[in-house]
Amino acid sequence: MTAQEAINKLKEVSGNGSISTSEFRDNTRVHVSKDILMKVLTCLKNDCGFDFLVDITAIDYMGYPTATTDRFAVVYCLLNTSEGSRIVVKTMVNDPDPVLPSSYSLWKGADWPEREVYDMYGIRFEGHPDLRRILMPQEFTSYPLRKDYPLRGMGERHNFPVLTRAEG
């Protein structure tokens, strides 16, 4: 199914007004609210043939000129492996408790991307089997890709024991 056909199908399934679309450089994006996210993803996977979850990532819109009230966007890039068509699903979450349902039940490959989004942005995925940090050390306390986290960190990289020569 092409992206356009998939969108028509989605509109049918989830009611016409609940999703909007946009295009950028031949990529079709679907904007959905977080309460119908799982419905949309399930429909895309099971009925529209988007069987491959390419990536999950997030965007922090803090300070963005055209930002809406929602701070974070979570982006799902999907691929239909039999036809080669692609679609991007975008949903917004907001502080102070950004949380989304996990898509692990649809694609096992959502495991690590969701952990990465959690690690870097602090967006939780409810229903994820093992939501731990994946890139940063376990005891890291911040979410480094948030726009309000300073580029040079908050002292984490300096806080280690010092070994001198005599301690060889």
């Binding site: 050390p137 306390t141 480094p144 300073p150 040079r152 908050m154 002292g155 806080n159 280690f160 005599a166």
Partner: protein
């Protein structure tokens, strides 16, 4: 007073002998984490041939090496590992910090990259460059050999006196309440949940913190 020796016997100071041996059989531990590691490999390969200086036996076990070559940027997740390997290397041992990243953090002035390994382990030679050419690394090895020749002692007691940190200033501006738990170089693990160092509440929010004693 003339001492009569057989003609194939020489006398020397023990220190000089030890230095002579150590100088010409440096066994590097390649701690190669990034692009500089490729130059390190090139240095060991046939065109540049580090073997000419007795330093080609790259040991991947810290127990068998006496020269750590830190080639590449070191991130805060890796530093406890680096320190642990350094601790596992037998005395006497030396360290070459290869490239801008290992020496200063290089262009990576970011939250995760350690701004110079010499802040946390002792470094003998710094190699500038990004990446340094193999010739520069070879020069560093030659200079290190000179240093060992000049300062080495048989019992390595020259190291005992160096109890002071010699890297850059530690008075770095950092808000202490934001500092995370330090790595533990003896186990290369980090002290976190359950060890009493850092406590996490729900969803990984830190609720208490203890600064490492060395940092107080």
């Amino acid at each position: 007073m003339a001492v009569s020796l057989p003609e194939n016997v020489f006398t020397a100071k023990l220190d000089a002998l030890a230095n002579w041996v150590r100088t010409n059989s440096l066994w590097p531990m390649p701690f190669a984490t990034a692009c500089c590691g490729i130059e390190l490999m090139a240095t060991g390969a046939s065109r540049h041939d580090l073997a000419r200086f007795g330093a080609e036996v790259m040991r991947f076990s810290p127990r068998q090496c006496d020269l750590m070559i830190v080639a590449g940027r070191v991130v805060m997740k890796m530093l406890p590992v680096l320190q642990r390997i350094w601790q596992q290397m037998p005395e006497p041992k030396w360290c070459i910090s290869m490239g801008a990243c290992a020496s200063t953090g290089g262009v990576f002035d970011t939250y995760a990259v350690v701004q110079g390994v010499d802040r946390f382990i002792p470094v003998d030679m710094y190699v500038p460059g990004c990446p340094p050419r193999p010739e520069q690394l070879i020069q560093a090895v030659i200079d290190l050999q000179e240093k060992i020749r000049q300062t080495g002692k048989f019992f390595s007691d020259e190291f005992d006196k160096r109890t002071q940190y010699t890297g850059p200033s530690q008075s770095l501006p950092r808000p202490l309440d934001a500092v995370v738990a330090p790595g533990d170089y003896t186990t290369a693990t980090r002290q976190w949940e359950g060890t009493g160092k850092v406590q996490f509440g729900e969803r990984g929010v830190r609720t208490s913190l203890e600064i490492h004693p060395a940092r107080k």
